[in-house]
């Protein structure tokens, strides 16, 4: 670089100053500071829900911050939308949004404003040449004419990555780019990233894989609860320090007392295999709250879905009490056997937003509220009233639409719906996602009361403090398998994180 004079300050490629952003009264970002130098790879770390994604979305113009300032090369900028941010050289590559399956690889790489054209006519030769250049930079041999939807997931990631390169990004934000790559491919990717860094590109690298961060990155910033905790050189840090900064200190008396678990086995799972689930065996007891943790994609949600009959499994058995579930299960059969699921995506999988509380609760209980195919309004209203009273659902009445309720009360409707089936085993996927702290405490209390009443609760959570606080026992999954099991009373975040990253005991 030519700017060798240390006294003249080289402006940061990208700087975020005192960014505040809140949604529905919840602070997602409170005074976040991030500064990324030209020609560095900067790791952005934090637990799920720490605010990394929100920060990335503010930087790329998807969200507008409530207050604070974004500077690009020392100048204050405001990005009205993604296109404006792209033109300023800021490009984010999202793990979940990668490719368009129905068009060719070449077109995927040169999408949108990158498409070379003269007078509105696509210049195919030029397009293919430039697409090929990007693939060459990545050492990828992918046929340009193939439909992107026909590629393997790895190749699809590479195509998405080639697209980011094609936009001539000066600030490149990568969100878990290695999630579906093999070791060789990761090596290739790292080589490319280092080359880009040496060419003066600033790279923000969001990852859960700490080993990668220490291998690749120059500096790191750790976020927790919507705040930036620390920024320092990677060489001056170590994994232990990073983990303890990510974890911080857990909240106080959010969680009720444990100790309702019995020794009576309520659920036995043996040798379960299926999509993203490999050879999983465990037992759960009557009155126990069993927490299941693991990184995103570790198979924890899929495990719950198999148990609830919502996803097929290839081999293995599930036994409730003494009764084995049929080998080709359905949600209906699982419910009849006493297994109920409160799903992860409340708004799309848990409730019908446009229907009333009463109709939502009736939905999962049609057998018990109807006879000879005729639904009884009296019976529906009875179970609805009981559910609303037991769970203290705050609403104008049983006829209010669920879409008008707060997140916490919506979650209670899902619970009420399932509890009316009197399940022996209640599965909950992210029981408190998007719920304010006060209602969280209520949900934890409800879970414990259910357990005290003899129900077995199996809850997946990506928040470690929650996992420890609400559970009696914790199972951690890594790449589809159980990588560790621990009594919650003696668990701590660091141990669980080690299991999450798949490290041996």
């Amino acid at each position: 670089m030519s700017a060798t004079n240390a006294s003249t300050e080289v402006p940061m490629a990208l700087e975020a100053r005192d960014i505040f952003k809140h949604f529905d009264g919840v602070h997602a970002l409170s005074g976040v500071k991030l500064s990324v130098k030209t020609g560095e790879i900067h790791a952005l770390l934090g637990e799920n829900g720490a605010g990394k994604s929100t920060l990335v979305k503010v930087i790329t113009g998807i969200y507008t911050p409530d207050s604070g300032e974004i500077l690009r090369n020392g100048e204050s900028v405001e990005f009205a939308n993604v296109r404006v941010a792209n033109r300023a050289g800021i490009v984010a590559l999202y793990q979940e949004l990668s490719i368009i399956p129905s068009i060719s690889v070449a077109e995927n790489i040169m999408l949108g404003e990158q498409t070379p054209s003269k007078g509105g006519i696509v210049q195919w030769a030029e397009l293919r040449k430039r697409a090929q250049e990007q693939l060459d930079r990545l050492n990828q041999k992918i046929p340009l004419n193939r439909l992107a939807g026909e590629l393997s997931p790895v190749q699809q990631t590479m195509v998405a990555f080639a697209r980011a390169l094609a936009t001539d990004a000066r600030v490149l934000i990568l969100d878990e780019p290695t999630a579906s790559l093999t070791d060789t491919e990761i090596k290739d990717l790292f080589a490319v990233l280092r080359k880009l860094r040496d060419q003066g590109v600033a790279i923000i690298y969001v990852s859960h894989r700490l080993e990668e961060v220490f291998e690749l990155c120059d500096r790191l910033t750790i976020m927790r609860n919507g705040e930036t905790i620390i920024t320092k050189d990677v060489q001056e840090s170590n994994i232990e320090e990073v983990i303890s900064n990510m974890v911080g200190r857990a909240a106080g008396q959010l969680y009720p007392e444990r100790g309702t678990a019995t020794t009576e086995v309520a659920l036995t799972v043996e040798g379960l295999n299926g999509r993203r689930v490999k050879n999983v065996s465990f037992t759960a007891h009557k009155g126990e709250v069993l927490g299941i943790g693991g990184l995103a994609g570790s198979g924890r949600s899929e495990l719950l879905r198999i148990l609830a009959g919502a996803q097929k499994h290839s081999t293995g058995t599930v036994t409730v009490g003494e009764e084995a579930l049929p080998s080709s299960p359905s949600v209906g059969k699982a419910l009849d056997a006493g297994i109920a699921l409160v799903p992860e995506e409340r708004r799309s999988q848990g409730v019908i937003l446009s229907a009333s509380i009463q109709d939502n609760i009736a939905l999962a209980n049609i057998p018990s509220v109807s006879s000879l195919g005729i639904v009884s309004g009296v019976k529906i209203s009875t179970i609805t009233k009981r559910g609303m009273l037991d769970l203290q659902i705050k609403a104008r009445g049983p006829h209010q639409n669920v879409g008008e309720l707060s997140g916490g009360n919506q979650q209670k409707v899902v619970l009420a719906k399932m509890l009316a089936r009197k399940p022996k085993v209640l599965l909950m996927d992210e029981p408190t996602r998007g719920i304010d702290v006060g209602t969280k405490a209520e949900i934890y209390r409800l879970i414990r009361e259910l357990a005290a009443g003899g129900t077995t609760v199996i809850a997946v959570s990506s928040e470690l403090p929650e996992l420890i606080g609400m559970s009696d026992r914790i199972i951690i999954m890594h790449e589809g398998q159980i990588s560790g099991e621990v009594e919650a009373a003696v668990a701590d975040d660091e141990l669980l994180l080690t299991y999450c990253y798949g490290k041996a005991n």
């Binding site: 993604v82 296109r83 368009i100 999408l111 949108g112 498409t115 696509v122 195919w124 939807g149």
Partner: protein, 322 residues
């Protein structure tokens, strides 16, 4: 490198086509069936010419439908728009306006209907179903107003010539259908807007985040559909030598059917013009063949529905296996 691979690649392409081509095979089987039934009539020059003449206007409307369906939407108002355009042109000419003016105003009307659809859907976020159902309803109403509920006729002979005349013994609407199809195909294939339409139809969110102007592209797709539908409607009025408020309405269902049939032809399962034309061919051959066999005319509509169900079910099975 590309030249040496060319034969191998062509072989691959043919293999893929046969594998994918259940719908094409269906068209061939239909042709063979009707030929076997009436070898004296079915494949004669006169009858093939008849088939082409009969499907030419459907081909134009189906081309319009293909554009919006590439974007992942659909347009229920294409048939009504074509009726209105025919009626407007007719009313103008009866009122003494020159032919060029009558046609221009009719095209403008189609453009405006398409523009309204586009604004409602792309900018006011109505679903395509609701928006085009509503515009269809109003447009039919306008067409009744323009025709005063009657059938307009007595158009200038030069105008009727557009729909009834021949060039090199082939009816003129066939040329129109050919030229419009080629233009739509080329726009879809070679222009930036065409490729944006494909990208949006594949995944709206990825397109938006990649800087594709999704709203403008959808607006344009509906506008094009409105304009092209109007061309079809004007030609239909010329061919019939008359214009009524409902004469284009059958073409709406048949155009959607043709595009659906065409979607089964290619691997990505997207709407595509070549496939649409095969779909138009199936519908045309069927209706002509059944006519020749003296089968009740309404049966063709029943059979068309069944064929769509078969084709879409089969293509669904194919993707599920993958």
């Amino acid at each position: 490198m590309t030249t040496t691979n060319a034969p191998a690649r062509a072989g691959q392409a043919i293999g893929r086509m046969l594998l994918q081509g259940g719908t094409v095979v269906a068209l061939l089987l239909l042709i063979i069936f009707f030929f076997a039934m009436r070898p004296d009539i079915f494949l004669t020059f006169v009858n093939v010419k008849n088939i082409l003449y009969q499907v030419s206007i459907l081909a134009i409307i189906a081309g319009a439908q293909t554009v919006v369906m590439v974007v992942g939407d659909f347009d229920l108002s294409v048939g009504a728009t074509s009726s209105l355009a025919g009626a407007v042109a007719g009313a103008q000419m009866i009122g003494g306006a020159p032919i060029w003016q009558a046609i221009s105003v009719a095209l403008l009307v189609g453009l405006i209907v398409g523009l309204v659809n586009g604004v409602l859907i792309a900018y006011l976020n109505l679903t395509a179903f609701v928006a085009t159902l509503a515009t269809m309803t109003s447009v039919v109403g306008f067409a009744f107003l323009v025709t005063e509920g009657t059938t307009l006729f007595n158009f200038p002979a030069e105008f009727n010539e557009l729909g009834q005349g021949k060039f090199l013994n082939i009816p003129i609407p066939v040329y129109f259908a050919l030229v419009i199809s080629v233009i739509i195909w080329a726009v879809l294939k070679f222009t930036t807007i065409g490729r944006s339409w494909h990208a949006i139809g594949g995944n709206v969110e990825v397109s938006r985040l990649s800087g594709v102007n999704v709203r403008r592209a959808r607006l344009l797709a509906f506008t094009v559909a409105g304009l092209v539908s109007a061309i079809g409607g004007i030609l239909l009025a010329a061919r019939l030598g008359s214009a009524s408020a409902v004469q284009g309405s059958d073409n709406m269902m048949f155009s959607v059917a043709a595009v659906f049939l065409g979607m089964t032809v290619i691997k990505s399962g997207m709407a595509n013009l070549g496939g649409t034309m095969i779909g138009v061919g199936i519908i045309g051959v069927m209706s002509n063949g059944l006519n020749i066999l003296g089968v009740n005319a309404y049966i063709q509509q029943v059979v068309t529905g069944i064929i769509i169900i078969l084709a879409v079910t089969l293509s669904g099975l194919k993707t599920r296996e993958r």
